[in-house]
Structure formats: structure tokens, C-alpha cells
């Protein structure tokens, strides 16, 4: 650990360190995300490796790839991408998350460019990436189509978008709202608005509406017996993830 950031109030740093510890505590407030994370990472790393012909058993398999993590939070996805060698930008509209993410990345010795910004603002600034991650974000935005168009603009030609969200049906209401928020209290009440959940068909339409080619969908399924998540090729009834690509320059 370095203690070189002399321009920042030490009390503030202590506060953010505590928050970083909380974000990264597998038994803490973000436990559901930590439980889901290995599955998300398996999907993301598998898709990126397949799309860009990388071998995950090699050192730094994502070296040379520029990856944007939209809604980066404490950096649960940004850090693994950086560890795999990618050049990572983590963006979050919630300003409080950023110092937390920065402190944890510094503790982990990972150079990640965390920014307080939005997809739309970055697209406007002309930034481009090989991979854009929209994980569990689209169900929180006001204009999903506009958000996906901005995501598409943020991709280099031939780039890869990974987008996950929650299906809208009675089961997802029972699981994601009643189960996760009300009964298990895994998530604060009001984390999700069921009406904003998106069905796989709707998401596919939105992706195509943004000019992307929808290439893959998988479900993330929670097994309450083994208390763990797994990737399902068929069960997209609650949490699911998609891959889509932007056309290469002709």
C-alpha cells in the first residue's frame, strides 16, 4: 500500500477504505454480487476469449484489449479484467463508488482508470473500446434504447458488448424482489423496480435497434440447494446475459 495521496483528507481515505472493505467483503452487503461474480466472469472471459481468439490459460490473455465496465461499482468486474491484462476504464454514475474502487485497485496493484461519467457522455466524447460490459445496469436506466445506442457507439468496429439484466415475469418478481430484497434482504428494498426488468425478446430487439448483432444468450441460475450460481443455456427465467457484436468496418 502507498500512502502518497497527500491532497486528500486522511479521514476521507479511512472512510473510503472502510467502504472498499465492505464492497469486497464476500459476506457483506454485496454478497449476492460476489456469489454471482464467478459465473459472470466465466461468461465474460469465455466470450472475450472466443471473440478475440485469446487463450485463458496463458499469462495476461487480454493484453492489448481496451475494456469499458459501465456501472463499475466497487470494481468487481474491472479488477479481474485488469488482472487478465486488459486496459480498463470503469465508469459509474454514482460518485461515491469511485474513490472506493480506486482505493481497492491501488491496494491490489491494478492500474484502472475509474471515471465518474455515463455511457452517453463517453460516447459523445468519442471514446471507443474493444469490449463494453453492461452488467446489471440496463434495468436501472431511464432510456434502455438510448443507453444501448451509446454502448454501441462506444464499441470499436467488430467490438463485443456483454449485457446482462433480469427477466420480467412472475418468477423474477418472486425471486429478485420478494426473495432477494424482502425475504433474504440481500439487496436493499427498492434496489430493483420490477417494471423496468426486460424480457430476453425485448432485449434482443433493443440490441438490434442499437445496430448490434445479438450472438448469444445464457441464463444465470441460482440453485438454493447448493447455494451457488451456474450458467444455463436454456433457463433465462430470472437473471440472464447476452453477447452482441458491432459490425466490422467494411
Amino acid at each position: 500500500m502507498q500512502a502518497s495521496q497527500t491532497t486528500v483528507d486522511p479521514a476521507e481515505i479511512a472512510k473510503f477504505e472502510a467502504m472498499a472493505a465492505e464492497w469486497w467483503d464476500p459476506e457483506g452487503k454485496f454478497k449476492p454480487l460476489h456469489m454471482l461474480n464467478p459465473c459472470r466472469l466465466d461468461y465474460i472471459t469465455g466470450q472475450i476469449a472466443a471473440h478475440y481468439g485469446r487463450d485463458l490459460s496463458k499469462q495476461m490473455p487480454f493484453a492489448g484489449l481496451r475494456i469499458l465496465d459501465i456501472g463499475c461499482g466497487g470494481g468487481l468486474l474491472s479488477e479481474p479484467m485488469a488482472r487478465l491484462g486488459a486496459d480498463v476504464v470503469g465508469a459509474d454514475a454514482a460518485e461515491g463508488n469511485l474513490p472506493v474502487a480506486r482505493i481497492h485497485a491501488e491496494q491490489s496493484g491494478l492500474p484502472i482508470d475509474y471515471r465518474h461519467t455515463t455511457a452517453e457522455a463517453m460516447a459523445e466524447a468519442g471514446e471507443q473500446f474493444d469490449v463494453v460490459l453492461n452488467m446489471e445496469v440496463i434495468e436501472h436506466v431511464a432510456d434502455p434504447q438510448g443507453f444501448l445506442i451509446a454502448s454501441q457507439q462506444l464499441l470499436k468496429p467488430g467490438g463485443l458488448l456483454i449485457c446482462s439484466t433480469i427477466n420480467r415475469n412472475p418468477k423474477s418478481y418472486a425471486v429478485a424482489i420478494l426473495g432477494a430484497e424482502v425475504i433474504m434482504r440481500w439487496l436493499p428494498r427498492g434496489t430493483h423496480e420490477w417494471a423496468k426488468f426486460i424480457t430476453p425478446v425485448e432485449l434482443s430487439d433493443l440490441l438490434q435497434g442499437a445496430g448490434l448483432k445479438h450472438t448469444d444468450s445464457k441464463g444465470f441460475v441460482f440453485n438454493p440447494i447448493t447455494w451457488s450460481w451456474s450458467i444455463s443455456p436454456t433457463d433465462l427465467s430470472v437473471n440472464y446475459v447476452t453477447a452482441s457484436t458491432k459490425a466490422a468496418k467494411t
Binding site: N37, P38, P80, S108, G109, N223
Partner: protein, 408 residues
């Protein structure tokens, strides 16, 4: 950095080097710290210690690249005979016979002497560029940081890594320094261990005799030589151990019988008190325990090694999986996967041991031997029990890849 590697392993016995090799093969840099000088345990003389390697363990050794050097010194176990009574007498109704022909044509396991295993491991870790070996040094302190761990050696040198692995035996200093307590009990029994030369060939047959004073295992070594594991009440065992070689053999002969002809001692005699010591947690902050440091079982005939190599296979698989998805492999999130995987197995094993204790009073050692080798009808009970428990917990097919003979 010179003193920095991905993983620091304390303990250069057999599990530590096995783990180091498995992790180096998947691209991790590893430092192994051992208190003993090089070659201390690989003296050219046979010291009587051998391991009954289960087939799964042999597969792991093949995967980490040490089996070729060991194979020529290994004795395949082709048959197991379990007898209630004594050798040389007609089999009792409890006679059980297991032939490897019944299980896919391969041996049920291999008997390997300690010295050959150590030699093979020492050569392999010395040849691996990603492994650094520090010998004749003890760890005197360990420090946890946010994303790192450091240890201080008795030389004053500091080493840094992202994960510390305690492979330092049943009195693991790594576990103690991490504040991990242990649970255990004694069986009030002691195993007498030695190797014998015998007149007639053993034909690769392992014998296990249930006898009134205690169980006796005769495990075939290369040539006309076998390893003996002989359990008695602790007081009887101490009395026998105190005898001279002639007296010792005189006590052994009536138990052993004459089916292998004349017998004589082929090395030193050892005693091991039978007890169990399980660490209350297999993991701590930036720290994991493997082998006896996690679960000290009977240090007999290598059953502890078979269990330790399962830890090695599971931990190497968990850490490599984490590395490949970009996770911090030393984080508690990742280490918990290892703990869940191995503690379940250990709990099942402890439960099975307890059931056997009740059923067969003082025969638990032999039953454990039999069970862990995966051979026999006595094996069916804990086998079924474990299958059932695993099914219930959704843990079927949880044998680590390396023990299935698959690369990571």
C-alpha cells in the same frame, strides 16, 4: 521483485512440492520454504516408510510430472485380501477378496517408499523455473496486508506473496500464527510400522487381517519385501517396540503367519500414536492449509498422503480457476471454495471413522486403510454414506481434476 512470488508454501514434504508443481504448471510463481536441508529425507537407505498410493493419487503424481521417476520403484497392488483371523489359517466367513481385474484392469494402487517420492519431488521442483526453494529456514512471523501476505524467516529475510499455504504438518505453525485452533482425539492405539523381507513372493497382494489384538496390514513393496502396519493398544505397542529385533519378530510371527516363508526386519521400526487432529478452519486471511496441517489423520501407509493430495488437487484447481477468470486467488471469496470442497470430505471421513469405531471397536485403522484405498465391501458403507451425502449436497463428481488424471 526478488522476494516476491504469487504463492508462498511453508513445508517441503510431499504435499507442498506437489502443490508447487501443480501451480507452476498453470503459470503461478511459487516459493517453497522448508526447515530441513536438501536431501535430508531422501537418504539412500530404505527407512521402512512407505505409502499406499491410491490410484487417484498416482494420477495426480503423473499430472505434476513426478510419476515417471517413481514408477520403477513402485509396487502395483493387484489384489487385496481381507481376512478375519490370521494368516496361514483357513479363511473365515468374513474373507473378502478384491482383484484389480474387477475394476478396469489397472492396479488398485501402488506401494511407494518415502525416499523415492522425496527424491522425485525434489528433482522436479528444482527443475521448475517458476519454483524457488528456500531450505533450512523457518518462518517466524506472518503478516496480512490488504491484498498481500508476507512472512519473515529466521534469517531475518522477508518474503511476499498473494497467498500463503501451510503444508507444515499436524502442528502447523502457519495455522497457529493465523490463530486457527484444532479439534482432535486419540484412539488410545499405536501403530507399529516396519518393513520386512520375506522368503516367498507376495505377487502384489495386500493382506489385511482382523485379529483380536488389533488389525494388521501387510502391503507389498518391490521385491520380496512388504510394509507392515500393525495396531495395538498403546501400552502393548510400547512394550513390543521396546523389545529387541528378535523379540519384535517373535511377537510379529504368530500374527503374520508363515504364508510368505521366513521373515526378517528390512529397516528401522517406527511407532505412530493413532489420533486425529483437524484444524477448525482450513483457511484464514490470505492463507490455506493442506495435508496434515488441515487434517492430521493416522500417519500410516500414506493414507494421510492420499488425503493431502486431494487437498492439493482441489486447491490447485480452485486457484487456477480463479486466476483464469481474473479473480484475486488469495481473496477469502476464492479460498472459501476450497474450504467448502475439502471440509465436506473431511467431515464425511470423520463421521465414517466414528461409525466404524462403534461397529468394529478397535479396528478403525484397518477399515480406514481399506476405505481410502477404495477397495472392498467394508468400503461400501462409508462409500455409500459419502455418495449419499454428496448427492444430497449436490457435490457429486467432486474429485479434483488432477486426481482424475486430467490437466488443469
Amino acid at each position: 521483485m526478488k522476494n516476491t512470488s504469487d504463492i508462498l508454501i511453508v513445508g517441503g514434504g510431499l504435499n507442498g512440492p506437489a502443490l508447487a508443481l501443480a501451480l507452476a504448471q498453470t503459470g503461478h510463481s511459487v516459493t517453497v520454504i522448508d526447515a530441513l536441508p536438501e536431501g535430508a529425507a531422501e537418504a539412500s537407505d530404505f527407512d521402512g516408510r512407505g505409502y499406499a498410493l491410491a490410484l487417484a493419487s498416482q494420477r495426480l503424481l503423473a499430472q505434476v510430472g513426478v510419476w515417471d521417476a517413481v514408477a520403477e520403484h513402485a509396487q502395483p497392488m493387484l489384489e487385496i485380501k481381507v481376512t478375519d483371523g490370521q494368516a496361514g489359517q483357513p479363511p473365515s466367513p468374513f474373507f473378502l477378496h478384491f482383484d484389480c481385474a474387477e475394476i478396469e484392469e489397472s492396479p488398485m494402487g501402488f506401494m511407494v517408499e518415502d525416499r523415492f517420492l522425496r527424491r522425485a519431488f525434489n528433482a522436479a521442483i528444482a527443475a521448475e523455473p517458476l519454483i524457488t526453494v528456500i531450505r533450512e529456514r523457518r518462518v517466524i512471523a506472518q503478516t496480512i496486508e490488504a491484498a498481500a501476505v508476507s512472512v519473515t524467516l529466521d534469517s531475518g529475510e522477508d518474503l511476499h506473496g498473494r497467498l500463503l499455504v501451510g503444508s507444515d504438518g499436524r502442528q502447523s505453525g502457519t495455522a497457529q500464527r493465523a490463530g486457527i485452533k484444532r479439534t482432535g482425539w486419540s484412539y488410545e492405539q499405536t501403530a507399529l510400522v516396519c518393513a520386512i523381507d520375506h522368503e516367498l513372493p507376495h505377487h502384489g497382494v495386500a493382506h489385511q487381517f482382523f485379529m483380536p489384538p488389533g488389525p494388521l496390514a501387510i502391503l507389498p513393496l518391490p521385491g520380496n519385501r512388504s510394509s507392515i502396519v500393525w495396531s495395538e493398544s498403546t501400552s502393548t505397542a510400547q512394550a513390543i517396540q521396546a523389545l529387541d529385533d528378535q523379540g519384535y519378530l517373535a511377537a510379529l510371527r504368530p500374527r503374520f503367519g508363515d504364508f510368505l516363508g521366513e521373515i526378517s526386519l528390512a529397516g528401522k521400526r517406527f511407532t505412530y500414536p493413532l489420533n486425529l487432529t483437524v484444524a477448525n478452519s482450513f483457511i484464514g486471511a490470505r492463507m490455506a492449509l493442506v495435508g496434515d496441517a488441515a487434517h492430521g489423520m493416522h500417519p500410516i501407509a500414506g493414507q494421510g498422503l492420499n488425503a493431502g493430495l486431494r487437498d492439493v488437487g482441489a486447491l490447485a484447481e480452485v486457484l487456477t480457476g480463479a486466476t483464469r477468470r481474473g479473480e484475486d486467488f488469495g481473496s477469502s471469496l476464492v479460498l472459501q471454495r476450497y474450504q467448502e470442497w475439502r471440509r465436506f470430505d473431511t467431515a464425511a471421513l470423520v463421521a465414517a471413522t466414528d461409525v466404524f469405531n462403534r461397529l468394529f471397536s478397535n479396528n478403525n485403522l484397518l477399515l480406514r486403510l481399506t476405505r481410502d484405498l477404495g477397495m472392498g465391501a467394508v468400503n461400501a458403507m462409508p462409500g455409500l454414506r459419502r455418495s449419499f451425502l454428496r448427492e444430497a449436497a449436490g457435490l457429486t463428481g467432486d474429485l479434483p481434476k488432477l486426481l482424475q488424471g486430467k490437466p488443469l
